[in-house]
């Protein structure tokens, strides 16, 4: 049985939540006392994606049995805690290059949260992406980033520049 202390990130309150659970899949590489999903993002292999999916399990949902969750003060907190243990995800916000705009970059975000293990894969996939001005909030920048099924979309506006502003 594992007890994990989390801080909910659903809103700025940051309620401390305790999740008690068990690893139930005896074939997995985790020992019974090893926490799920607690790995720092930077410890993940830099490029996972389709080829490596077997090597780095993303969704622990079938392998974890939640016993108890305490400390949340709203339903979002409970949902976050459960998700953080079974299927930890993050929204990634970063920027991509813009060609011909009044700024050389525009800020983007994943349209929904993606598995924590794919964060660097997402950022790396965007390294070579350039969009052409004008760009506006909601424009699609990259579809199905790192095989997550989630698109990266524009979260800022950049107008066309009267003179070019490339990097």
């Amino acid at each position: 049985m594992i007890k994990r202390e989390l801080t909910c990130i659903g809103c700025p309150l940051g309620c401390p939540i305790t999740v008690t659970y068990e690893n139930i899949d005896s074939e997995n590489s985790l020992s019974p006392s090893e926490p799920c999903g607690a790995d720092p993002i930077s410890n993940q292999p830099p490029l996972s994606g389709e080829d490596n999916k077997a090597a780095v399990p993303i969704n622990h949902a079938g392998r974890v049995k939640i016993i108890d969750i305490t400390g949340y003060t709203c339903p979002r907190g409970k949902a976050y805690a459960e998700k953080e243990v079974t299927d930890p995800r993050r929204t990634v916000t970063t920027s991509v290059k813009v060609k011909g705009g009044i700024y050389p970059v525009v800020n983007v975000k994943t349209a929904a949260d993606i598995p924590k293990t794919e964060v660097f894969a997402c950022v790396n996939a965007l390294r070579d992406v350039t969009v052409a001005a004008p760009v506006k909030i909601g424009d699609t920048v990259l579809k199905n980033v790192a095989g997550t099924g989630i698109d990266v979309i524009c979260a800022g506006n950049v107008q066309v520049s009267p003179q070019s502003c490339e990097m």
């Binding site: 989390l6 801080t7 909910c8 990130i9 659903g10 809103c11 700025p12 940051g14 401390p16 720092p40 993002i41 930077s42 410890n43 993050r90 929204t91 990634v92 916000t93 970063t94 920027s95 290059k97 009044i102 700024y103 050389p104 970059v105 800020n107 975000k109 924590k116 964060v119 660097f120 950022v123 909030i137 979260a155 800022g156 506006n157 990097m167």
Partner: protein, 427 residues
């Protein structure tokens, strides 16, 4: 109808700053009936600091969504445009007088003097820079405030450096720890002078824990090496009185030091107008209607006190706009009785600093910060020494603004109201 009909004014209302505070204030003033509004912004576009805050977390209270800074700003910019409110960009205000004459300079409009019926201060804040921190060393390249680094990465598209040490665990420092890491830099650690972090807990999780970046509390930078470029910084633990503890120095080779050591409301203009400032917040002293001690000059947003959540900035600014409109319609409150709001034990400051019970809104939100981390306490409000209400708060920290709501009906039950006290108590 006194001042609004004053033909000698060029505008009824001049708002300094088109960041989230200025934008919300403009919308509220327009919707409250003010006709001639001018918003003056020194940057090329509206949005203020939100334009470089590309992380999410904005708008949860206002829109029920988690937006990035630019997305939140865009919603308000759209509302300002819909109302056809005049805005001047690339225009810097250099002076404001007590009589509300605003001097501004820009390439497009030249040097202008604008007579205003009322003024709303919404200039935001600045970061504390290395010079104020007295860290030894030369002046090598590679030392930036965290906000400057944020601007460079998110708007200019350049990386400030590769091997990074961050001093200060306020939200900007935490956010930049993640941002720099995502862009390929190696963030060695975040050092924090105090024994607790000033940032939101969610940012410790999302920006440090997620990336295995150590947070060293009660630590500071005691030396910077490098002449042309930073080559190393030395971190030491601090003890009582924040003095470095001998024998705890650790040297980190790096090329970049980011400083996230405090935000200071930008009040040079307020001072030139003779506005009285609160020494604790660094912002103007205001009453419940957010008016300063200079007739017809109001303040809201980070220039008044530094906020954690932009949603509260918008609410506060909205009230400033509404109140400026009310002022223009009926004039000032000379002679109205003022009751001071006292910051009691555990409370560092309150905004507003005083209330005019006869003229306050039906509901008034008093915002404040605690002066330390507290567990298992309650916020207690007293009117004339009698407890009004108690709010239990299991955890409170200086980095998270608190609030108490006062009702006009509650205050009116005390015709001789002379004291309002907010303090923390056990239980």
């Amino acid at each position: 109808m006194r001042i609004a009909m004053n033909k000698s004014t060029d505008y009824d209302l001049v708002i300094i700053g088109a960041g989230p505070a200025g934008l919300a204030a403009a919308i509220a003033a327009k919707d409250s009936g003010v006709e001639r509004i001018l918003v003056i912004e020194r940057d090329r576009e509206p949005g203020g600091i939100l334009n470089q805050c590309i992380h999410t977390g904005f708008g949860l209270h206002t829109f029920g969504e988690e937006l990035t800074g630019p997305e939140y700003a865009a919603r308000y910019i759209k509302e300002v445009a819909k109302r056809d409110i005049e805005c001047r960009y690339d225009t810097t205000v250099t002076d404001i007088t007590r009589e509300k004459t605003v001097t501004a300079v820009s390439a497009r409009y030249g040097l202008t003097r604008i007579n205003a019926g009322a003024v709303i201060l919404a200039m935001g804040c600045r970061e504390r820079a290395r010079g104020s921190l007295n860290i030894p060393g030369f002046r090598p390249a590679g030392i930036y405030t965290a906000g400057c680094a944020q601007r460079l990465v998110n708007k200019e598209g350049v990386m400030p450096g590769k091997e990074v040490v961050i001093l200060g665990s306020g939200d900007i420092g935490l956010i930049m720890a993640r941002r720099m890491t995502l862009e390929g830099a190696h963030v060695r650690l975040v050092a924090e002078l105090l024994p607790y972090s000033g940032g939101l807990k969610r940012n410790i999780v999302q920006c440090l824990d997620d990336f295995d970046i150590p947070l060293k509390l009660s630590h500071t930078v005691v030396d910077i090496e490098g002449k042309d470029r930073v080559s190393a910084v030395t971190i030491a633990q601090v003890g009582p009185y924040r003095k470095p503890v001998p024998g705890t120095r650790v040297r980190y080779e790096c090329d970049t030091l980011l400083l996230s050591c405090g935000l200071i409301p930008e009040n040079e203009l307020s001072k030139s107008a003779g506005v009285g400032l609160d020494t604790v917040t660094g912002g103007p002293i205001v009453g419940d209607n957010l008016e300063t001690d200079v007739d017809g000059i109001f303040a809201c947003g980070n220039v008044l006190h530094v906020h954690d959540l932009v949603d509260y900035v918008s609410r506060e600014a909205y009230l400033a706009g509404k109140n400026a409109a009310a002022y223009l319609k009926r004039g000032g409150y000379e002679g109205a009785k003022k009751v001071a709001v006292e910051a009691g034990s555990g409370v560092r400051y309150t905004v507003p600093r005083f209330i005019r019970p006869s003229f306050m809104d039906d509901k008034l939100t008093v915002r404040f910060r605690v002066d330390n981390v507290y567990k298992g306490k309650s916020i207690v409000t007293y009117l004339n020494g009698t407890p009004l209400h108690r709010k239990k708060r299991p955890v409170m920290a200086p980095g998270e603004m608190e609030e108490v709501v006062l009702k006009k009906t509650e205050l009116n039950e005390y015709p001789n109201l002379s004291s309002i006290l907010i303090r923390l108590e056990d239980g």
